[in-house]
Amino acid sequence: MTAPLLRQVQALLLASPEPLSLGRLRELCEPTPTAGTLREAIAALQREAEPLPFELVEVAAGFRYQLRAAYTAQVHRLWQVRPPRHSRALLETLALIAYRQPVTRGEIESVRGVAVSTSIMRTLLDEGWIRAAGQREVPGRPTLYVTTPAFLSDFNLRSLDQLPVIAMELAAAEAPPES
């Protein structure tokens, strides 16, 4: 006897520490559902969660259940932690990498007008939000940075297109100077 697809999907999503893509979900369900049936099941689960303190969202890496924002403060009290706040310097660095990728550290510095501290780059790498992706073919061959799918998932985004609209302007800004 196999459980209804709807409940299988729910169980898998709740058990997985990471978002699950449609493809992964199809592999894991039995019998293998069509993509359409699976999408319908997910939509039904999303409706079902409406009155509940958690929601089923789609992010870059796939689908995940998450606690609604209104309840997180209470849970943070449980852990006695203040959610980590990120400095403006870090957010500006991350924003530039997100909107202009791939960029080098020098290019970030030239837009921000100040040096980017090593600890900021390290934090961004540690969080898994950015990664090195080759080198720019200019003297010194500086490392190029791009954002990762984990960045999108952690910011509740499905793709880079979903970044707030300011994206357009920033990306349109002049090409990086070849410092």
Binding site: L14, A15, S16, P17, P19, F54, V57, R64, Y65, Q66, L67, R68, A69, T72, V75, P83, P84, R85, H86, R88, A89, L91, E92, L94, A95, L96, A98, Y99, V111, R112, G113, V114, A115, S117, T118, S119, R122, S153, D154, F155, N156, L157, L163, P164, I166, A167, E169, L170, A173, E174
Partner: protein, 264 residues
């Protein structure tokens, strides 16, 4: 406290947005420090000065803004804030633009192409930075895992077989701990940077030392542990002492060792 234009608050003092610079108001030094520390660099400071006065960014009165900029830099120095070199670079750039603005502009050439406004490059950089600042704010406003949303993971009633895990070793734990320590060391280093080294205090130290031990070279007065900031503070203290005629600075040739001797 009235908001300065539509600039976002640059700091909060006692929970109140701190947007305008109250001209005649006494600001407790701590609040002032908090306010000044919030600037993310020379572009950020310049934008603040421009937006606060509702100045058109494409028509910056360079002389006035540069004067205000330098006043802020001086204030930051007095408060012993860790001042990045880029701030001074910008001061130099503003001075250069100011002087270029004084030169007569050449007439448009036959193509009708006007000579570029000396401010154009700076305006481009300010606008690019302002967009970045807005982008960072919007990014920060997105619901974020760990802060606003918590992914749910439920345990199974029957624990899955543990065989699938990559083996963990004590060596891996040890390495993880070393990595943490290394990061903390870096952070601790930053904390030292932020610690105010007082020029006034350094002047006293240097004077005592010179009077006790006699003339010394500049390099011998530096403490490597204090880093770049230490060099700057020591140099400022020496210049200050020289100005007050407490010491004498001597150098045989540019680039050679700087010798410092106490004056009676």
């Amino acid at each position: 406290m009235p908001a300065g234009g539509d600039a976002p608050p640059r700091a909060r003092v006692a929970g109140e947005p701190f947007t305008a610079w109250p001209a005649d108001l006494y600001i407790p030094p701590q609040a002032l420090e908090v306010f000044l520390e919030r600037f993310e660099g020379p572009l950020d400071l310049l934008l603040y000065l421009i937006r606060r006065q509702n100045i058109d960014i494409r028509d910056i009165p360079v002389a006035r803004v540069s004067e205000q900029y330098v006043a802020y830099i001086r204030l930051m120095r007095e408060l012993q804030l860790d001042l990045a070199g880029e701030y001074l670079l910008m001061a130099a750039l503003l001075t250069e633009i100011k002087s270029r603005m004084l030169l007569p502009r050449t007439a448009p050439d036959e193509d009708g192409a006007d000579e570029e406004d000396p401010r154009a490059e700076l305006v481009r950089r300010l606008e690019a930075y302002e967009r970045l600042r807005a982008a960072a704010e919007q990014l920060d406003a997105l619901p974020r895992v760990g802060r606003d949303v918590l992914p749910l993971t439920l345990p199974a009633s029957v624990t899955p077989p543990p065989a699938a895990h990559e083996p963990l070793t004590v060596a891996a734990l040890h390495a993880a701990m070393l990595a943490i320590r290394e990061r903390q060391r870096l952070q601790a280093h930053h904390r030292i940077d932020a610690e105010p080294l007082s020029v006034r205090e350094r002047m006293h130290q240097l004077l005592r030392r010179l009077q006790a031990a006699g003339p010394a070279s500049f390099v011998s007065l530096l403490d490597p542990a204090e880093g770049r900031e230490g060099v700057v503070v020591t140099l400022l203290a020496l210049l200050e002492l020289a100005r007050e005629r407490c010491i004498q600075l001597q150098q045989a040739q540019p680039g050679e060792l700087l010798h410092i001797s106490p004056l009676a």
